[in-house]
């Protein structure tokens, strides 16, 4: 069905473990992504939930061809992109962008905000000079910053603001797909809602499609239309967000959901009494 913006089939990414005296031979593999299939429709948000070691970060990179898949298919707008050369991928990079987890590590501390956000525009030759500046300042405003922030350095901003800068950078080329890898995990609790709401607004305004990856099921459920649960390199359950959270069918999903602490003391006590009974 070519209606999906992104279609992933049997995606595999293994990392070989090599041993050997003179010649290194592969003795084992780390099966980071072990046969994953899913699709994302245009304008939809697919939430990917998993704990550490589930392979979700590797999956993000493999989908975006930031690391070459071992095997499997990734179709973007119907076109196969798995294993494409760097050159062939270049024009496609305008259509797919990534937001990273750590707002302190993902911005080059030696560059000004304007340069960081404007770099994609420059590299893809979309704009330059004053037009570039104008576009970047527009983006900054759109994500809740001020045009004057163009000339500042990342260290002058808080975590939440830096994440906004990262979002502005991802938006610069008006991509169709944004892969958000734990975009709010490193932020203070009172800021998370702001960023979640911002991503929500931007999705409506720019017609974005999100692959939203996180370990916090609550946040994932809030933003997603559909959810996929990942465990040890495989997707163990997929479906509409509410259904997966309220009526999980997979054992791991059930365990995961049961472990989420409920921020409601009476509810929490009742749940524990139930599980003990």
């Amino acid at each position: 069905m070519s209606e999906s913006l992104l279609e992933v089939n049997g995606l595999v990414k293994h990392f070989p473990v090599k041993r050997g005296l003179l010649i290194s031979r592969e003795v084992d593999r780390v099966r980071a992504v072990d046969g994953v299939s899913f699709s994302v429709a245009p304008g939809e948000t697919l939430g990917l939930v998993g704990e550490s070691g589930s392979g979700k970060s590797t999956l993000c990179r493999a989908v975006l061809q930031l690391t070459e898949p071992t095997s499997g298919s990734v179709r973007f707008e119907g076109r196969e992109i798995a294993g494409l050369s760097r050159r062939a991928m270049r024009p496609l990079r305008r259509e797919m962008q990534m937001i990273f987890q750590d707002p302190y590590a993902s911005l080059n501390p030696r560059r000004r905000v304007g340069q960081i956000v404007g770099e994609p525009l420059r590299l893809q030759r979309v704009a330059s000079g004053t037009e570039l500046r104008r576009q970047v300042q527009g983006l900054l405003e759109r994500v809740g910053l001020a045009p004057e922030h163009y000339d500042r350095y990342p260290y002058e901003f808080s975590g939440g603001q830096r994440q906004r800068i990262g979002i502005a950078r991802a938006l610069a080329l008006r991509p169709k797909l944004i892969v958000a890898d734990e975009p709010v995990s490193a932020l203070d609790v009172s800021i998370r809602a702001q960023i979640v709401n911002l991503l929500d607004d931007l999705q409506d305004e720019f017609g974005l499609t999100y692959l939203f990856v996180a370990h916090d099921i609550g946040v994932v459920r809030h933003v997603s239309d559909r959810i996929a649960v990942m465990h040890e390199g495989r997707i163990v359950e997929q479906g509409p967000a509410d259904r997966v959270c309220e009526q999980p069918s997979d054992a791991y999903t059930k365990r995961l959901l049961a472990a989420v602490p409920v921020p409601d003391p009476r509810e929490s006590r009742a749940r524990r009494a139930d599980s003990r009974a």
Binding site: F15, V17, K18, R19, G20, L21, L22, S24, V27, V30
Partner: protein, 318 residues
């Protein structure tokens, strides 16, 4: 571990080969008087020079010359161009002096380097730290030969407090052995003390900010135990590796110090051979030195893996 050592040994052979080829090429390229000419002496006749050239194979192609020389070195037959003595024998004779120098200096520099580094770190910012820093930086900055000459001049020649050079074997006269080596030990150690104390200080200051040090305090350990069993212990690991590398280099001969103090070790032999561009000893000493560097490099890696259980010797596992 076994696999690691075998791998390293194979690597060592490759390194030694490369080093020997490089050394040979370098000295073949340096223009110098025809060795046959020098060997023949003052009243050389062209026939004599030609005869020597043929006998020694100086007219062979360079690869052939290389193979001949390497063969001789490895079988212990190589002979110096300058004075016809057996190079390998001479190296073996020089080993006691060189090794004594290195061992004694190493004990000195480790003891004081660690002590000064520890004190500097524990009292960071205070007057003791500042004083020791000045001492360390001075030690690092002083040119080795100048210090040697200074000590030799004032403590030996002028005041006669120390002997003015020479080496006495350990087995002959232990006290004299130490007495003659005292100034060389100090000279060699000064630079290293400065360096090691700075490195240790820096490592310890970093370690003091680590979370596990905070945990150690939270357990109620005394400050001294926190400093020694946690901060120092972890900070020493890179020092051990550094030491392995330094010793490996020095065992090949501390050229300047041996020459100035006339210790007749391998370093001094190297010094003399270089002056005369005498190729066979140079080649042999280079190989000798390279061997120790590679060996101690490997030992340093083993020690590191032993001291830090997170480090695996094999880089294979992801």
């Amino acid at each position: 571990m076994g696999r690691f050592l075998v791998r390293r040994l194979l690597g060592m052979v490759a390194v030694l080969f490369a080093v020997s080829v490089l050394a040979f090429l370098i000295f073949n390229v340096i223009p110098s008087s025809d060795p046959a000419q020098r060997m023949a002496g003052r009243n050389a006749t062209p026939q004599l020079v030609a005869a020597i050239t043929a006998e020694w194979g100086f007219d062979d192609a360079p690869p052939q010359q290389y193979l001949t020389m390497m063969g001789n070195i490895l079988s212990g037959d190589v002979v110096s161009y300058a004075n016809r003595e057996n190079v390998d024998d001479r190296i073996v004779e020089g080993i006691p002096a060189t090794f004594s120098l290195c061992a004694g200096a190493a004990v000195l520099w480790l003891a004081f380097g660690i002590l000064f580094g520890y004190l500097s770190a524990v009292r960071a910012g205070g007057w003791l730290d500042k004083t020791l820093t000045v001492v360390a930086v001075t030690g690092i900055s002083i040119p080795v030969f100048w210090l040697a000459a200074l000590l030799l001049n004032y403590l030996a020649y002028q005041t006669g407090l120390f002997p003015s050079g020479g080496y006495i074997g350990l087995t002959e006269e232990p006290l004299e052995w130490a007495y003659h080596l005292l100034l060389p030990w100090v000279t060699l150690a000064v630079l290293q003390i400065g360096f090691y104390s700075r490195v240790l200080r820096s490592n310890m200051l970093d370690a003091m900010d680590e979370d596990y040090v905070r945990t150690a305090r939270a357990k109620g350990l005394s400050e001294r135990r926190v400093m020694t069993r946690h901060v120092l212990r972890n900070s020493l690991v890179p020092i051990v590796t550094l030491f392995g590398l330094d010793i490996g280099v020095l065992l090949g001969g501390a050229i300047l110090i041996e020459a100035i103090f006339n210790l007749n070790g391998i370093g001094q032999y190297a010094f003399e051979s270089l002056k005369g561009l005498d190729l066979p000893p140079i080649m042999a000493i280079v190989l000798f030195g390279a061997f120790f560097v590679v060996l101690f490099n490997a030992l340093a890696d083993v020690a590191y893996a032993f001291l830090d259980p997170r480090v695996k010797l094999e880089s294979g596992a992801r």
